[in-house]
C-alpha cells in the first residue's frame, strides 16, 4: 500500500504554480473559493485511496 507523498513530486514545480495562479486570474474571492473546492474534489477522486486521503487531510490541517 502506498503512502502520501510529502516530498517534492511535481515536474516543473514553478510552472505548475504559475498555472494554478493563472487559473484564478480575474476571479472574485467567491469564484476562486469555488474553484479551489472543485479542484480539491477532482484531485481527491484521482487519488481515490481512502488511507492517503486521510493522511492528506491530516497533513493539510498542519497538526
Amino acid at each position: 500500500m502506498s503512502t502520501l507523498t510529502l516530498t517534492p513530486n511535481i515536474d516543473g514545480a514553478d510552472d505548475f504554480y504559475a498555472d494554478l495562479l493563472a487559473t484564478h486570474d480575474g476571479l472574485s474571492n467567491a469564484d476562486s473559493g469555488a474553484l479551489n473546492a472543485r479542484l480539491v474534489l477532482i484531485l481527491a477522486n484521482h487519488i481515490g485511496e481512502r488511507k492517503i486521503l486521510t493522511e492528506a487531510l491530516k497533513a493539510a490541517a498542519l497538526k
Binding site: 473559493g33 469555488a34 473546492a37 472543485r38 480539491v40 474534489l41 477532482i42 477522486n45
Partner: protein, 536 residues
C-alpha cells in the same frame, strides 16, 4: 368523498375489560396503532400470542407522512400479510433527476438488482400501509387470532413492576386500568410512555423547517424523483417532487429556520410557492400540508424491564433516506420472535437485551446516514455550502462527483455485526451473507427464497446434507434443502456460496443469518441455536 384518513377505521367500542374491578392482565399490550405498533401486534398475533393495541386516535395517519418503502420492510410486511398489496398499489420508480439552480445537473437510473421478489423501493402513502395493516388485524381476528385494537383508548399513566406493567387508560366512557406482562411502546416521536417513565431522548435538532405538501394533480410529470438544490422558486433552499399513487404528488420545500410556521402553512401562502414550482398551467389541489423540523435522536436504551420501545418512540431520523417507518418495521421484526420465545418460556428475558443491542446498532446507522444527507441538503457553514455547491457543479460535467451528491441514501437493512447472537463465520462465503446479515432474496425453481424462511428458525442447506428437523431446548429448526444446480451465475450461488461449494446456514425467524459453515455439524449447530437464543 371522504379520504381514507378521515374515516374512523377502529372506532371506540366498549371492552369488557373496562367493567372488571380488578384490572385484567394481558400478555402483550402495544401502545400506538401507527405502522410500527400495528406491525408489532400482527407479529405477536401470528405467533398465537395475545395482544391488545391501544391508540388514542381511531384513524390512520393524517396526511401521507412516510411515502418511500424499501425492499426489506416490504419483505417484512409480506410476512405480516401485506407486502403484495403494498407493491400492487405503490408506485415503482427508477429514474431520478437532480437540479441545481435553474438547470438539471444529472439524471440517474437506479436499476434494481434482479432476482428479488420485491422491488428496491416503492412510493405509497403511509395511510395505505396503515389501512392494509388494520385490514390484516381484522383478517386475523376473523380466524380467531387473539388480537384486539381499541380506538380512543389513551394511555395516561404507566407503572412498571418486575413481573408486569400497569396502565391507566382514558376512554370516552371514562378511565379503566389494565395490566400487561409486556408492553411495547410504539407511541411515536413524542412518546408519552417515554415521558411517563422519565426517559431521555437525546440527539440533534436541525435548525430548519420543511413544508411538506401532498398535491393532487393530473399532470404528466414522469414517475421520477426530482430533487432541486437552490431552485429559482425556492432560492438558497431545496425542493423535492415525488409521485405517489392516485395522482398524489409529494412536495417538500425547505423553508429555513426563521419563519412563521402558521403563516407559511396557510393555503394562500403555500399555493403561490407551488405554482411557481409547478408552472402556471398545472391544475392542482392541496390534499395535506404540514411544516416539520427534523431531528436525529434516539433513546439510550430501547428496553426498560418489561417495557420495549420501537419505531419513532425509540429513535427519530430526518426523512431524507426514508428511514423512519422502514427502520421501525425492522425493530418489530427483530423484537417479535424474541419476545415470543421469552413468553413461551423457550428463552430467558436476557434475550431481549439483544433487541436493544441490535436495534441500537440499526438506529445509529440510520441516524448517521440521515444526518449526512441533511448536512448535504442544508449546509451548516459557508465552507460546507461551498463544497456542496462544488460537488453539484462538478456533477453536471463529471461522473465521479455524482456519488457525492447526497439527497438521501435509501434505507438498506443493517447487519448485526458484533451481536452476541452470531456464531463466528466459518464459511469462505460472500460478505453480504455473513452472520448478522439479513438474508438477501433469491429466485428458486418454485418461487422465491424469503417466503420459505420467515417466522421460524431454518437450517438452509445448499448442496449438502443435514437432518430435516432438529430440536434444541424446545426450539424447532426446520431444514430447507436447496441445490444450486449447474448455473454458475445463479443468484442463490452468488449470494450464499461465493467461492464455497456447499453451505449450511442457521437462519433466525427474522431472516437474519445466525451461523454458517460449509457442512452440518450437530454440536456446532446446536450451539449456534443456543447462542442465537441468548443461551451461550
Amino acid at each position: 368523498m371522504n379520504k381514507i384518513f378521515e374515516v374512523p377505521l377502529y372506532p371506540y367500542e366498549h371492552s369488557p375489560d373496562q367493567d372488571e374491578l380488578t384490572p385484567v392482565r394481558r400478555k402483550v399490550v402495544v401502545i400506538g396503532a401507527g405502522p410500527i405498533g400495528l406491525g408489532a401486534a400482527i407479529e405477536m398475533a401470528q405467533q398465537g400470542i395475545e395482544v391488545v393495541i391501544l391508540d388514542e386516535n381511531d384513524k390512520v395517519s393524517f396526511g401521507s407522512r412516510a411515502i418511500c418503502f424499501a425492499k426489506r420492510p416490504l419483505e417484512i410486511l409480506d410476512r405480516l400479510g401485506c407486502g403484495h398489496e403494498m407493491v400492487e398499489k405503490g408506485v415503482e420508480w427508477d429514474v431520478g433527476k437532480v437540479f441545481f439552480g435553474d438547470r438539471q445537473v444529472y439524471e440517474f437510473n437506479l436499476q434494481p438488482e434482479d432476482g428479488h421478489e420485491f422491488p428496491a423501493f416503492i412510493n405509497l402513502q403511509q395511510y395505505f400501509l396503515e389501512e392494509y395493516l388494520i385490514n390484516r388485524v381484522r383478517e386475523l381476528q376473523a380466524t380467531g387470532a387473539p388480537i384486539e385494537i381499541r380506538g380512543r383508548n389513551k394511555v395516561s399513566a404507566i407503572g412498571t413492576h418486575p413481573s408486569h406493567v400497569t396502565l391507566e387508560v382514558e376512554t370516552p366512557e371514562g378511565p379503566y386500568n389494565l395490566e400487561a406482562d409486556w408492553l411495547i411502546a410504539c407511541d411515536g416521536a413524542n412518546s408519552p410512555t417515554r415521558s411517563m417513565l422519565g426517559l431521555d431522548f437525546v440527539g440533534r435538532v436541525f435548525e430548519d423547517n420543511f413544508l411538506i405538501a401532498d398535491v393532487i394533480m393530473e399532470a404528466d410529470f414522469p414517475t421520477e424523483r426530482w430533487f432541486w438544490f437552490d431552485p429559482p422558486f425556492n432560492r438558497g433552499q431545496s425542493a423535492l417532487l415525488h409521485k405517489q399513487p392516485d395522482n398524489v404528488w409529494r412536495i417538500d420545500l425547505q423553508l429555513g429556520w426563521d419563519i412563521d410556521k402558521e403563516r407559511e402553512k396557510r393555503p394562500e401562502n403555500v399555493i403561490p410557492r407551488l405554482r411557481e414550482m409547478l408552472g402556471d398551467e398545472v391544475e392542482f389541489e392541496l390534499e395535506w400540508v404540514s411544516i416539520y423540523t427534523f431531528q436525529c435522536r434516539r433513546m439510550e436504551n430501547f428496553r426498560h424491564g418489561r417495557v420495549l420501545f420501537a419505531g419513532d418512540a425509540a429513535h427519530q431520523v430526518s426523512p431524507f433516506g426514508a428511514r423512519g417507518a422502514n427502520s421501525g418495521l425492522q425493530d418489530t421484526d427483530n423484537l417479535g420472535w424474541k419476545l415470543g420465545l421469552v413468553i413461551n418460556g423457550q428463552a430467558s428475558e436476557s434475550l431481549l437485551d439483544s433487541y436493544n443491542f441490535e436495534r441500537i446498532h440499526g438506529a445509529d446507522e440510520n441516524i448517521l446516514n440521515s444526518t449526512r444527507s441533511t448536512d448535504f441538503i442544508t449546509p451548516k457553514s459557508d465552507m460546507s455550502r461551498l463544497l456542496r455547491d462544488a460537488v453539484l457543479d462538478l456533477s453536471e460535467h463529471f461522473e465521479f462527483a455524482r456519488p457525492l451528491v447526497n439527497s438521501g441514501r435509501l434505507s438498506v437493512p443493517c447487519t448485526y455485526d458484533g451481536s452476541d447472537l452470531n456464531s463466528a463465520d466459518a464459511l469462505n462465503g460472500p460478505a453480504d451473507t455473513r452472520p448478522g446479515s439479513s438474508c438477501p432474496d433469491a429466485p428458486l425453481d418454485d418461487g422465491f427464497l424469503l417466503p420459505k424462511l420467515g417466522g421460524k428458525f431454518t437450517l438452509l442447506t445448499i448442496n449438502t446434507d443435514a437432518p430435516d428437523q432438529i430440536e434444541v431446548d424446545g426450539i424447532e429448526v426446520t431444514r430447507l434443502a436447496l441445490n444450486t444446480g449447474t448455473d454458475p451465475n445463479s443468484p442463490l450461488k452468488q449470494r450464499y456460496l461465493g467461492d464455497a461449494t456447499s453451505a449450511v446456514y442457521l437462519i433466525r425467524p427474522d431472516q437474519h443469518v445466525a451461523a454458517r459453515r460449509p457442512t452440518y455439524d450437530e454440536n456446532l449447530f446446536h450451539a449456534a441455536v443456543r447462542r442465537a437464543t441468548g443461551k451461550e
